[in-house]
């Protein structure tokens, strides 16, 4: 036909070669961003500028890349490039996530659950005995509560700092900071104990012997919580359960089979657990031969001022959390009542009611473990799923996610409370021939406290659920504001009700305090979710 130029064989060959280069470029980098990028990639594939005129009919690679770029773009638009589609997570995967993390949460509660089981079946735990007199129980309770409160902040910070360094593969700094924080906690425990001792000498709140025994329990339990937090942060949950059980068995063997004084038996059992826990922590964080020689340029551990600055919100939260957990007992047991001898006096029916309620709380915590891990796993896939101009939809997705988890927690929490109630009642029926079991159910205070404490723990779980989201995205200030308000309400309501109604109504402070915690954190959470794109971005 007139005027029509058909490409020659050489030109066709060259076009095929150019297309082959385009395929190689797509194989290496996918959709190219510019011809200059294509030039760089072509060079790295081994093509040379000198070969371009003969092989491709182009002056050099830069000229060649203009054509290659166009071809790549055409192929990509025709769908020939690989698409990076986000994996859709099916139902089975979601179910697996639930099983995996829920059972992980159960495992977290295993140590405490085992102590409850020990006391139920043997009458002994590592720091308690079913046949304690109220005086003995008061001594131990005081020591136990103080140990939780004083070390609460440190255990929170240890978990945070050590987990962070281990997650980036820096065992050396993780080890250094773990032991440094342990030492700070240890020193603080001693200092606080000493202060109490001096105050008691001056004001004579408790008899000297009483306080000394309480301080021994306090001190040994403080070491236990601190060393346990080291092991938890290295994710060795089973070791904690094992070591606590060994200590408990020592107590049983010494007291039941060797007739040693119960407090001496506890002291030896606790010391055994402390030593084993500390040695095991040292073993976990041991350095291999090559690692010992490494000397990093930058500071191994942040300065004290910086450590305090970055961790202060988490430290405070840890402290306030344990205060919230135990404040009702401090208030109720210090209220005037019959049979009370000192400023602070253990009340068996109250404690039984709270411990009964605690069983359902343990199950709720497992639910929280699942929720926070599910949230973490979904963060990036969800962000990838939504285009940048659909941020409102992206944030709305999270609101929906949260409401589902919130509802699940409430339903599960209520179900746990009911289940725990029914199971314990049934066990009471079955074992009513045992004196201690009859005594468990003898006081209406136990039931009153159980009802209020159960619902309080549910509110607390809701607050913790919200707080986990805040902590996951490095925004502790929301949870901190909420728990401060909760503590204030707990204190005021607890004091008023325990003094004006009856001593056991200190638990009402806990109920309303945890309700405030739940409501405040939920309100913050709903606002938080509206800007969750920002919250995730700024989580550094």
């Amino acid at each position: 036909m007139k005027g029509k130029n058909f490409p020659s064989n050489t030109e066709i060959e060259r076009l095929k070669k150019i297309e082959k280069v385009a395929d190689e470029v797509i194989e290496k980098i996918g959709n190219p961003v510019s011809p200059l990028q294509v030039s760089a990639v072509i060079e790295s594939l081994g093509y040379r500028h000198a070969d371009c005129p003969t092989e491709f009919g182009k002056k050099n690679i830069f000229e060649l890349s203009k054509d290659v770029y166009k071809i790549c773009k055409l192929k990509v638009r025709r769908g020939k490039a690989k698409k990076g589609k986000t994996k859709q997570l099916g139902f089975l995967h979601s179910f697996w996530i639930f099983i995996r993390y829920f059972s992980g949460g159960i495992a977290l509660g295993l140590p405490i659950a085992s102590q409850i089981a020990f006391i139920a079946f043997t009458g002994y735990s590592l720091w308690a005995w079913i046949k304690f007199t109220e005086l003995q129980a008061t001594i131990v309770a005081l020591g136990t509560i103080l140990s939780f409160i004083v070390t609460g902040g440190f255990t929170q910070v240890i978990g945070r700092e050590v987990t962070y360094y281990l997650s980036i593969g820096n065992k050396i700094t993780a080890r250094a900071i773990a032991f440094k924080l342990f030492n700070y906690g240890f020193a603080t425990s001693i200092a606080f104990g000493f202060l109490l001792f001096i105050l008691n000498l001056v004001f004579e709140i408790f008899p000297k012997k009483f306080l000394l025994i309480a301080l021994v329990y306090y001190f040994l339990l403080s070491i236990l919580w601190l060393s346990t937090s080291l092991i938890y942060s290295a994710k060795r949950k089973l070791a904690v359960f094992t070591i606590l059980s060994i200590g408990t068995l020592v107590v049983i063997w010494l007291h039941k089979f060797n007739s040693l004084n119960i407090h001496i038996a506890h002291i030896i059992g606790l010391t055994t657990s402390d030593v084993l826990m500390t040695l095991w922590a040292r073993f976990i964080f041991r350095l291999k031969k090559g690692e010992k020689k490494i000397t990093y340029v930058s500071l191994k551990v942040k300065r004290r001022s910086v450590l305090a600055y970055v961790n202060s919100p988490f430290f405070k939260f840890g402290l306030y959390y344990f205060l919230l957990l135990f404040l009702d007992r401090l208030i109720s047991w210090s209220a005037p009542s019959k049979g009370k001898f000192y400023l602070f006096w253990f009340r068996t029916p109250y404690e039984l009611g709270v411990d009964w309620a605690l069983l359902s709380f343990g199950l709720m915590l497992a639910m929280l473990e699942y929720t926070v891990n599910d949230f973490s796993e979904k963060l990036i896939p969800t962000q990838k799923k939504f285009p940048a101009f659909e941020i409102k939809s992206h944030n709305a997705w999270y609101l929906n996610f949260y409401l589902v988890k919130f509802s699940l927690l409430v339903i599960f929490g209520l179900a746990s409370i009911i289940a725990v109630y029914l199971i314990v009642m049934k066990l009471g029926e079955v074992y009513q021939h045992i004196k201690e079991v009859r005594e468990f159910f003898s006081s209406p205070i136990t039931f009153k406290v159980f009802y209020l404490a159960s619902i309080s723990y549910l509110f607390l779980a809701i607050g913790l659920l919200n707080n986990l989201f805040f902590f996951t995205l490095w925004k502790p200030e929301f949870g901190l504001k909420a728990i401060r308000s909760a503590l204030l309400v707990d204190l005021v309501v607890g004091l008023i009700s325990s003094r004006l109604i009856s001593w056991e109504y200190g638990v009402l402070g806990f109920t309303l305090g945890s309700l405030v915690f739940a409501i405040t954190t939920t309100w913050y959470m709903l606002k938080f979710l509206k800007t969750i794109d920002y919250q995730y971005y700024s989580a550094f």
């Binding site: 760089a40 500071l299 962000q383 940048a388 992206h394 800007t531 700024s538």
Partner: protein, 511 residues
């Protein structure tokens, strides 16, 4: 006698914390220029690094700038500064301050980033203004500002869509892309936070993020700036970022644009650009470097340290190929291993010994070990790890090999040449400039071609001897370390003198 001239020496992922060719070059430079005081600003990935080199007395300061892994950047950069003064900077940051003082500059910077034709001098201005802001306000708290995030989102989405008509589905940014992009800005612009000393000269060892303090020094004091290109930073970013399968189109484009922006800015402000080979000059010109600024200074070796010696007894009678290369993808050890399998068919008792760290990329090392096992090369291919005396590596073999897919002007080639051991190497970077006529050059990623070159040299004794001898002569003529040092010294003094002349001229015009 006057004070010694001070040099701000900027490195990125190299000296003095990581080994390799660039670090070797830097170590040679600082040790052999005792007439200068060096202030080293070293960008690293993570904060936890060790010194790999003993520092001479003229290194007055090493400031490490970790881009990642710091919970509080100031703690790893300014650990000598009292926390109270850092705390003051933190308390000053609020949404209003960020909106009024930072965002206007930041948006202009973003605009430059997203415009391939932006003026690099304007970018330098924004860098300077941002640095000034960060001398008063905390870096991390500023980047965590809600207002900043909102403005970033709004601007980037609008500008991206406006500038890119007919976007394909895969080219649309996701929410995650925005998060990534803004976090990259936070990490890569970390050198903005660093106080820059008053120096006589700054020397960036890559046209990359490490050069940001140089820009500050230039804008503040007119400090002369020298850039050395070992590889071309921008080119390597095109390839490296492009190869990241996990990144979306938008994310790659954003990060590449950021890298190119910084490169162009440094090239524009540089008084001298000193690549280590002519190959790099092609790309430098494309990125706008004027011809008169460019001067190639080849790497050099000490021919008294790297000199020919007989093969050790243990390798006598065994055709031996040595390589000095860290086990990492850029060195393409897999192609070397495959070529060994081909060589073994002709020369059954051939031995390949690769000296180089096995810890740089443990996954890749494992991949290579599996390939050796798969090809049953356990007796023929040895990954020998780090050698304490590099000068002895090449004399252990009959020839040496380099299979890299990307290089600047590799020391391993000229060191081997100095030891009169001919090299079979891939045609990347400046290899051809060193080796043409003195070794065998092959295409990258071609085990067959590499094997053919190796077989040729191992079987042709005369050729091997001739090439080896000529290679050493070439090194003595062109690649002596003393010549290299002299060239740098001359460039340093010229740059410093030029500033003084300019200052004098300014003064004379004034008065």
């Amino acid at each position: 006698m006057g004070k010694r001239p001070a040099v701000l020496f900027e490195t990125e992922g190299t000296y003095p914390f990581v080994g390799g060719g660039v670090s070797t070059w830097a170590d040679i430079l600082v040790n052999n220029l005792p007439e200068f005081d060096f202030y080293i600003y070293a960008i690293t990935g993570l904060p936890y690094v060790e010194f790999k080199y003993k520092l001479p007395k003229n290194v007055k300061l090493v400031r490490q700038i970790p881009l990642w892994g710091s919970e509080e950047p100031f703690e790893d950069i300014f650990f000598e500064v009292p926390f109270s003064s850092i705390y003051m900077r933190k308390t000053k940051v609020n949404e209003r301050a960020v909106l009024r003082k930072f965002i206007p500059i930041f948006i202009e910077f973003l605009s430059s980033l997203m415009d391939p034709f932006s003026n690099p001098e304007d970018t330098a201005g924004y860098i300077w203004l941002m640095h000034r802001y960060f001398s008063e306000y905390d870096y991390k708290e500023t980047f965590r500002s809600f207002t900043l995030w909102q403005e970033f989102k709004r601007f980037v989405i609008l500008k991206y869509i406006e500038d890119n008509q007919f976007l394909h589905e895969d080219e649309m940014p996701s929410v995650y892309d925005l998060t990534l992009a803004m976090r990259w800005l936070y990490h890569y612009l970390m050198p903005l936070y660093v106080d820059v000393p008053e120096v006589d000269l700054s020397h960036a060892t890559a046209a990359g993020f490490c050069g940001i303090p140089s820009v500050v020094a230039k804008m503040r004091d007119g400090t002369p700036l020298i850039v050395t290109d070992h590889g071309v930073f921008a080119r390597e970013r095109y390839i490296g970022i492009g190869s990241e399968k996990s990144l979306s189109f938008f994310a790659k484009k954003f990060l590449i644009n950021l890298s190119i922006l910084v490169s162009k800015m440094l090239y524009k402000l540089a008084d001298k650009v000193l690549p280590v080979c002519r190959f790099n000059t092609v790309w430098e010109r494309i990125f706008g470097v004027e011809e008169e600024k460019i001067k190639v200074i080849y790497n050099g070796v000490d021919p008294e340290v790297f000199k020919p010696k007989p093969k050790p007894q243990k390798n006598q009678g065994i055709p031996t190929v040595v390589a000095a290369a860290r086990i990492m993808p850029l060195k393409d050890i897999e192609t070397m291993i495959k070529s060994c399998a081909i060589v073994r068919e002709e020369i059954p008792n051939v031995k390949f010994i690769v000296y180089g760290s096995l810890d740089v990329d443990p996954l890749y090392t494992r991949k290579c070990q599996l390939l050796i096992k798969q090809l049953k090369l356990e007796d023929n291919f040895i990954l020998a790890g780090h050698h304490p005396n590099p000068s002895e590596i090449y004399n252990e073999g009959d020839i040496s090999v380099l299979s890299s897919i990307s290089e600047g002007f590799p020391y391993t080639v000229i060191e081997s040449m100095a030891c009169a051991r001919p090299v079979v190497a891939t045609d990347v970077g400046g290899v051809r400039e060193a080796l043409e006529g003195f070794g065998i050059i092959v295409r990258p990623r071609d085990p067959k071609a590499l094997a053919e070159g190796i077989i040729k040299l191992l079987t042709d004794h005369e050729l091997r001897e001739t090439l080896g001898r000529r290679a050493r002569e070439e090194v003595l003529a062109k690649y002596r370390i003393n010549s290299t040092i002299e060239e740098y010294k001359k460039s340093y003094f010229e740059a410093i003198q030029k500033l003084k002349v300019d200052e004098r001229e300014e003064l004379s015009v004034k008065y």
